[in-house]
């Protein structure tokens, strides 16, 4: 995905929701933010590698 089209806090939020649901317990917001950055990073850098 092109980084320009990433909306922070909206893009790929569903993936994060799935991750949290799979965990089965609430998580600290810092941990959640880090996981969200990882998801966004993967989206953007996979485009770069292609």
């Amino acid at each position: 995905m092109d980084a320009k089209s990433v909306i922070f806090g909206e893009t790929a939020l569903d993936k994060l929701v799935q991750l949290l649901r799979a965990g089965g317990q609430p998580r600290d917001i810092v941990w959640v933010t880090e996981r969200y950055l990882e998801i966004l990073r993967e989206l953007v850098t996979s485009e770069e590698q292609r």
């Binding site: 980084a3 922070f8 806090g9 939020l13 994060l16 649901r21 917001i29 933010t33 990882e38 953007v44």
Partner: protein
């Protein structure tokens, strides 16, 4: 209107060319007017040979000859040894020319005469949109290059490469000998192109809603290290504004809304009844154990706990009064903590001097010392002792936990007295806006165990909401101390026996502060105004040095501070501010720290004059 072109050649050739044109026109009947319609010579030969029952070789020659005569209409291409004729529905095929020299996107993002960019904030707007949707801030490559956020790609004019070129020269200069200047220049030309072409072409910069750009090619640890607080707050804002509410939070915990358990009216009623019956705020874990019989060893315990906190926080009948790691809940109808002698609105304004930067509480103990030792010493003033209130100073802020929720107004803490095995529920009111915060609920403990001037120590325990309050004991001491007779609403001196160590300067006994018995117990709403309270206090505690017609009073900083703290809490810097800014005060030039107060002239009747006589008489006691 005829849509058929005119054909050339002899009559049979013209006829044949026209037939071929019609066939191809029919073939592309649904094409765009200027779209190419292609047909091979082989196909045309087969068609006409079968129609005319003639020799295909002859027909092929005839078609080729006829169409060669009309080359301006039938364009020819060679494909795999066969001739392909190309026309359009209009006649000859002419490739479409698209004029892209005046595209709106170019004019918008790459203006001919751009404004100078001194700061990226010129381009990025931080104003909030009218609708609370989270919109990304797109910045064109042009502006990003101007602001130096992205590297300049190759293929731009020479001057664009200047910074890279200069750097390259300087690097090479060090290595190369000075006489090889020509060679160096060649290297300079080649290097920037090579370096820029090796840069990744994909943009990995994303813009946060507040305009800050972060590069996702960096590691998560790096990003969190540099922008951690911003990223967390922007992410929190983003998912809180998400119209689908996919993620919800309570404090610092985040969980998908769809997975949060619901509580029915009956559940909420049971929680409310239990809280009311207990009579004091309860921990979430206690509510879960006592009402829902949920076991911490159950896999969904934490999710259930989150659900309870999240749902109760959305109910207006419940109020969160806990702190981090001790989530306490209160409900309507529970007994007020700290009594009702002072209204919250009055106390908030009385303590507002703390928010106006007149807080001296860290002069004797630093924040670090309080945090590391986990305890704080404090000398009780009369006001604090009388009403069981402690202003929420910076020193207390260092010791006590902050609010867990952004809109949290109060927290309930428990102060245990290890010397007497008693506990006091204390309400901590956090500061809001320009109103100060305070703790209330110590009244009973203070009145039973301490006197104004007592030195107390507040300490943390392992539980985040439980603290201890201690004091140093001493042998029985009796003195005539200032007390407030609430029935008469007057101050008086009475014999008091106490067992705690006191600061002698802050101990309000008759010997030191005899004049204070004439202090009026002003209504609490009048005590909000520090200026008026000080005028009254000065006229009461100060030594009269004027005449009856032109009264004047003289007092010291220390005396005024103790006396002012009888009616309202005040810090030394707040007192100094009142004295310096008050127009009726004048510092004694010969003795700094001593002050004169000359009350403004006022019309008095005889009764008031008689009262004044009483005031002067008290000096003789």
């Amino acid at each position: 209107m005829s849509d058929q072109p005119s054909f050339s050649g002899n009559s049979s050739q013209r006829e044949l060319a026209e037939q071929v044109f019609r066939i191809m026109q029919t073939q592309g009947a649904f094409f765009a007017l200027d779209a190419p319609i292609r047909q091979t010579l082989a196909n045309l030969t087969d068609f006409f040979a079968s129609q005319r029952k003639a020799d295909p070789a002859v027909i092929r020659q005839e078609i080729a000859a006829a169409l060669n005569e009309n080359k301006d209409i039938f364009a020819q291409e060679e494909h795999d040894g066969d001739v392909v004729y190309v026309i359009s529905r209009q006649g000859a095929y002419r490739p479409r020319q698209e004029d892209t020299s005046h595209m709106f996107k170019h004019r918008l993002y790459e203006p001919e005469n751009p404004l100078p960019v001194d700061d990226i904030s010129v381009v990025v707007t931080t104003t909030r949109p009218a609708l609370t949707t989270v919109e990304p801030v797109f910045i064109s490559d042009y502006w990003q290059q101007q602001a130096g956020l992205t590297p300049v790609p190759s293929g731009l004019p020479e001057e664009e490469h200047e910074p890279a070129g200069v750097e390259a020269v300087s690097t090479v200069d060090v290595v190369e000998a000075p006489e090889e200047v020509e060679q160096v220049e060649e290297t300079v030309d080649a290097e920037p192109v090579a370096s820029t072409s090796s840069l990744p072409t994909t943009n990995t910069l994303i813009a946060l809603p507040n305009g800050i750009q972060i590069d996702l090619s960096r590691s998560v640890e790096d990003l969190m290290g540099q922008y951690g607080a911003t990223l967390v707050s922007q992410f929190r804002t983003a998912f809180e504004n998400d119209p689908l509410r996919r993620l919800v939070s309570f404090g610092n915990d985040v969980y998908p809304e769809a997975a949060v358990a619901n509580f029915g009216k009956n559940d909420l009623r049971r929680i409310r009844d239990y809280l009311t019956e207990t009579g004091e705020p309860l921990l979430d874990t206690q509510i879960i154990a006592d009402i829902f019989y949920h076991n911490p060893r159950q896999a969904d315990y934490e999710a259930f706990r989150f659900a309870l906190n999240y749902r109760l926080n959305r109910e207006k009948d419940f109020e969160f009064v806990g702190v981090a790691n001790a989530r306490l809940w209160s409900t309507k109808g529970m007994p007020a903590i700290g009594g009702k002698r002072i209204k919250a609105s009055d106390m908030g304004q009385i303590a507002s001097y703390l928010e106006e930067d007149f807080d001296d509480s860290l002069n004797e103990q630093s924040t670090e010392a309080i945090r590391s030792s986990g305890s704080l010493n404090h000398i009780l003033s009369f006001f604090e002792w009388e009403y069981g209130v402690l202003p929420f100073t910076k020193a207390l802020r260092a010791l006590l936990p902050g609010p867990l929720l952004s809109d949290q107004r109060t927290a309930v803490l428990r102060f245990e007295s290890p010397q007497h095995y008693t506990t006091s529920l204390v309400e901590l009111r956090y500061p809001t806006g320009n109103r100060g915060g305070w703790l209330q609920g110590f009244e009973e403990f203070f009145h039973e165990r301490l006197v104004p001037g007592a030195l107390i120590t507040l300490s943390r325990t392992e539980e985040p909401h439980i603290f201890t309050i201690t004091y140093e004991e001493q042998a029985e001491t009796s003195d005539r101390l200032l007390v407030l007779d609430e029935k008469k609403n007057k101050f008086a001196f009475a014999n008091v026996t106490y067992y705690c160590v006191v600061d002698e300067d802050m101990l309000i006994n008759q010997q030191q502060y005899g004049r204070l018995r004439n202090l009026k117990s002003l209504p609490m709403n009048e005590r909000r105004k520090g200026e008026q309270v000080l005028e009254h206090v000065f006229a009461t505690v100060g030594e009269p040095v004027g005449t009856r017609s032109e009264p004047r009073y003289y007092s010291t900083n220390e005396e005024l501070l103790v006396a002012l703290n009888v009616l309202r809490p005040a810090s030394p810097s707040y007192l100094a501010h009142l004295l310096k800014t008050g127009e009726f005060y004048e510092e004694d030039a010969s003795k700094p720290g001593n002050w004169y107060y000359t009350p403004p002239p006022r019309v008095t009747d005889e009764d008031e004059e008689e009262d004044d006589v009483d005031f002067y008489d008290d000096d003789d006691e």
